[in-house]
């Protein structure tokens, strides 16, 4: 783990850009995030499903989870934790709304390391250093 930079409060969209109950992809510094809007507010996760890289932003959103559109793996909106499967969780990012604009805080880590399992503990929010940049390719998804 070398240098990290933490990006606080990047404006990603206006509130009305995301339809209620859906998600949209936004690529921040080359990293695809999924921004969701529910009755409880906005959430941001890594967009890339840990199973086979499906786009989570295109998933079906329930009260507290989103289900990947490819094979229905579920993730908690607030934490990115894997729900009912063993593919591991995704990173979750703090989101803030101000005057109808949506801001995401994104910690970035320099240098690649396998983050899958550690993120599966749902520690993404508290341990920013564990988030790795991706190159836009889907991860290997090699967990059984």
């Amino acid at each position: 783990m070398t240098e990290t930079i933490s990006i606080e409060g990047v404006r990603v969209c206006a509130a009305e850009d995301v339809p209620l109950g859906e998600g949209r992809t936004v690529i921040v510094a080359g990293r695809p995030l999924a921004v969701f809007r529910t009755d409880d507010g906005f959430f941001a996760l890594d967009n890339t499903c840990t199973h086979m890289g499906g786009p989570l932003a295109d998933g079906i959103v329930a009260d507290e989870t989103v289900a990947c559109p490819l094979h229905d793996r579920r993730f908690e909106l607030a934490t990115g934790r894997a729900v009912g499967h063993e593919c591991g969780g995704v990173a979750a990012y703090p989101v803030e709304g101000r005057d109808g604009e949506i801001f995401v805080t994104m910690p970035l880590l320099e240098g690649a390391a396998s983050d899958e399992s550690r993120l599966a503990t749902g520690a993404a929010e508290v341990e920013p250093a564990e988030v790795t940049p991706t190159d836009g390719e889907s991860p290997a998804g090699n967990t059984g």
Partner: protein, 854 residues
């Protein structure tokens, strides 16, 4: 009692008096935190929540899955020393009241004092003791075995060392061509190091394979670029000047250069601890059928135990041991242990190989296909099945395991072998063990579904524990759950809240709900996992005859953007082409659009239409505009196509105008959503070129009339449709087919294809509902209502009138200042930061689309 302070629970020292009356042991200590020690903890806790359980582990880890150690060799980058192998999360031990001492060895057992001496100087008292101390790798007593660069293959430390060495080494040798040796060799290769397997015997895996199978395994391994050197006795491991290994010397004097050597020639059960205490040992610690050692308060299990003269080196018996040992420790009646069937599966991804039991026998049958590297054998003894080998094609593993376990009597082994290959989960007997880790049989799973009302694989797994060990049986568990669910147990529309389709339909009708969110609000349907929302959306639309309030958030992405999502996140576009009839103008527009939007592939589908694959989501509106044809609904649960043959228009055999009927039917039905996709076909004569008899709805022209088929399928299931009616005119056939379609729309469960629906409801009932004049008239009336609303609009017209400004577009990409270049950049939390970011984004907007966008 003891002097150490690690007791779990508060009553460590009290209660001796009560103890005198109660025969139940108060404190069980388990020595050894391998799979055996861990399983025993779990079996004890299942049976008794009060008994104190202490687990003493010599290794500096919580119990982990040794079986999958090779994951640490082959995985891209294991996270931590154990990767994903830890069997239970840290919290498990607290949650289950199990005291664990890691990195602590038991040095001595004081049998009379019922006390253990630990490596940290403490002592621990026990009422009952379990020895689950496993085994050590066998190392040949040859010169050089202690050299640097020579490793055993047993634990995470060895594995990490091999991994690190393999990344540097120029050539590796693995001594031992058994199950583990081959696995280790493959792991070394995964690190990019060439490898030679050196084996003493004249064939690989001689303990699990007969000569025939071994002769086919050899080329399979060689094809993976693995060198195999047989009949090689290593006499010495050679050192270079620095005391590091440089090669092997064999008994014939030849040498092999290797700067990494992994040894995997077998195991030596750990028994010294017991032996020193005076417990009877032979190869391992001797146990009886209750797993009791020569000492009444001490059991042994796992790889350290010798039962009826056998020491097992595999994991499956351990789960059986743990159950019996738990009963013995708690002084409960239970099954006796009678020994286990040895079986093994080679964990080398490219080679499928299962070996079961005694593979030689005194006869049997073999089916071998050398060119396909397939070798399947049943071994028999005295007319009963005693073993099997499945190489290259492991279908029927569970069935054969069960047959060998039960000693099935077989008259025609070759036929039995063929039968096993066909044995799907349906054919498995109820007693067949599905999950070896937890000893769960097919019958247990079926009962969880049919008697306990579990409906999802997840629920069944958590209740029966099937699939929760290694997970290798999960697909089979899922299949069995599906089959068991196919009975007439309620299939839930919303499994989370256990709500059936009927219940939800009733709620919608009586409360007049016309939107999914209303139903969710009122009944909770769809709020938990959301996966039933599409079913709910269909039900809401169907009950309201398509005059519902559409909420796209309840639809699958396919139905939000009217295209089929592909595995890479792009979409496929299939325009409507009624009856499979098109013209040059359409083809030209399709061709131009394909060029313009750089379509990945143009494919003629099985349904006589054209599929443009690899279209980006935000190109969808434009490509539809250019093509100018309506949606083919190829992405939804909807009426797909009506395939037709050329019929009387062109065909010399034609008896009916199949093109006309096909085009008309598709026109009448298109745009309607259905519980599952509906594929149809019209054939002009019984030669059936449009394959109408295996469609959900099919019409076939015959001499003097038309036959209407329903419930056919030629996909994952193959079913010939049933003739619901034979009628004289094409018009009549349309009415029957359409009335059936509507009845299906109203009564099928979501995702229930007609091939399940028709047999479930029964042909007679369907004929009653669909052919009866009054019933037919009302069905057709409701069909028209639904159709008028649905057909009002081709969904692809949403390109001009999207339901949301960003129906087809994602958010704009954001470019940040170079991350990490200099630490301070972008670090601060002054408000200015986000502004500078926003500026970057402006720049980005005018630039080219960023890399990495799909």
């Amino acid at each position: 009692m003891s002097t150490n302070g690690h007791h779990f629970g508060a009553n460590g020292n009290g209660g001796r008096a009560a103890n005198d009356r109660s025969p139940a042991p108060k404190r069980v200590v388990i020595v050894g935190g391998g799979i055996a020690g861990q399983s025993l903890c779990e079996r004890l806790r299942e049976r008794d929540s009060d008994v104190q359980v202490t687990l003493v582990c010599a290794e500096p880890h919580l119990p982990y899955d040794r079986v999958h150690l090779s994951d640490l060799l082959s995985d891209e980058e294991p996270s931590g020393p154990l990767g994903e192998l830890q069997l239970r999360p840290d919290e498990w031990y607290d949650d289950n009241g199990v005291e664990v001492l890691v990195d602590t060895k038991v040095e001595r057992i004081d049998l009379p004092g019922h006390e253990l001496e630990l490596s940290n100087g403490d002592t621990v008292a026990y009422d009952k003791l379990a020895l689950a101390i496993g085994s050590q790798p066998l190392m040949p007593p040859i010169p050089g075995i202690e050299l640097e660069g020579v490793y055993a293959y047993r634990g995470p430390t060895d594995t990490a060392a091999i991994r690190a060495a393999a990344a540097e080494a120029t050539h590796a040798a693995v001594i031992g061509g058994g199950l583990l040796g081959l696995e280790a060799a493959r792991g070394v290769q995964a690190q990019g190091c060439p490898v030679t397997v050196v084996h003493l015997m004249d064939r690989l895996m001689e303990r699990q394979l007969d000569a025939g199978a071994a002769s086919m395994l050899l080329p399979a391994m060689e094809e993976l670029d693995m060198e195999v050197s047989l009949e090689r006795q290593t006499e010495e491991i050679l050192a270079d000047d620095d005391g590091h290994v440089r090669g092997l010397r064999f008994s014939d004097g030849e040498e092999l250069a290797a700067d990494l050597v992994a040894v995997s020639i077998g195991i030596r059960p750990e028994k010294e601890l017991a032996e020193h205490a005076g417990i009877d040992c032979n190869r391992g610690i001797i146990v009886d059928d209750r797993l009791c050692t020569s000492e009444p308060d001490v059991v042994a299990l796992g790889e350290c135990a010798e039962h009826r003269g056998v020491v097992y080196g595999i994991v499956a018996p351990i789960y059986e041991h743990a159950k019996v040992a738990a009963d013995t420790l708690l002084e409960r009646d239970g099954d006796e242990y009678r020994g286990s069937l040895p079986w093994a599966k080679l964990k080398v991804a490219e080679v499928d190989l299962v070996s079961i039991g005694d593979v030689e026998g005194d006869g049997g049958a073999t089916s071998a296909l050398a060119e396909r590297r397939e070798y399947r054998k049943i071994a028999m003894r005295d007319g009963r099945m005693v073993g099997a080998i499945l190489l290259g094609d492991t279908r029927g593993t569970e069935a054969l395991l069960e047959a060998v376990r039960s000693g099935e009597r077989v008259d025609d082994p070759l036929a039995r072998l063929a039968e096993a290959a066909e044995a799907g989960p349906e054919e498995l007997p109820d007693e067949a063990q599905v999950c070896d880790c937890n000893g769960v049989c097919k019958g247990d799973i079926v009962r969880a579904v049919t008697e306990d009302g579990m409906s999802s694989k997840q629920e069944v797994m958590s209740v029966t524990r099937a699939g929760t060990g290694c997970g290798s049986c999960k697909p089979l568990v899922a299949d069995i759950v599906a089959i068991a669910g196919g009975s007439d147990e309620p299939a839930y529309l919303c499994p989370c809240r256990k709500q059936t389709r009927e219940f939800v339909a009733e709620q919608i009708m009586s409360n007049g709900h016309d939107a999914v969110s209303e139903v969710s609000e009122a009944c909770g349907t769809g709020r938990e996992c959301g996966l039933c929302k599409p079913a709910l959306a269909y039900l809401v639309s169907q009950i309201n005859d398509n005059r519902h309030r559409e909420e796209r958030s309840a639809r699958h992405i396919n139905d939000r953007v009217h295209a089929n999502i592909q595995n890479d996140g792009t979409f496929s576009v299939v325009p409507r082409m009624r009856g499979g009839v098109t013209n040059s103008d359409q083809l030209r527009r399709i061709a131009d659009a394909a060029d313009k939007y750089d379509v990945g592939m143009i494919k003629v589908t099985g349904g006589q239409r054209i599929d443009l694959l690899g279209v980006k989501k935000d190109d969808l509106p434009a490509i539809w505009e250019d093509i100018g044809m309506p949606s083919g609904h190829a992405y939804g649960k909807a009426v797909r196509q009506v395939k037709s043959c050329v019929g009387t228009d062109f065909c010399r055999f034609g008896l009916g105008d199949s093109i006309k009927l096909g085009v008309e039917l598709e026109g009448e039905w298109e745009g309607l959503h259905t519980p599952a996709k509906v594929k149809s076909g019209v054939s002009g004569c019984p030669r059936n070129c449009a394959e109408a008899t295996v469609k959900d709805i099919g019409v076939v022209a015959i001499e003097g009339g038309w036959q209407v088929y329903v419930g056919g399928a030629a996909g994952g299931s193959v079913r010939k449709g049933d003739v619901i009616a034979t009628v004289e005119t094409a018009e009549e056939s349309k009415r029957v087919a359409t009335a059936f379609l509507q009845y299906y729309r109203e009564h099928a469960s979501f995702k229930e294809r007609t091939y399940d629906f028709v047999p479930r409801v029964g042909l007679e009932e369907l004929q009653e509902q669909v052919l009866d004049e009054d019933n037919q008239a009302t069905l057709l009336e409701r069909f028209r209502l639904a159709k008028t609303a649905a057909a009002a609009r081709d969904p692809w017209l949403e390109r001009r009138d999207p339901y949301h400004e960003r129906q087809f577009t994602d958010l704009d990409s954001i470019q940040l200042p170079q991350a990490g270049g200099n630490g301070a950049n972008g670090h601060g939390d002054e408000p200015g930061d986000s502004e500078s970011v926003a500026e970057e984004r402006e720049l980005e907007l005018v630039g080219p689309p960023p890399e990495g966008e799909r």
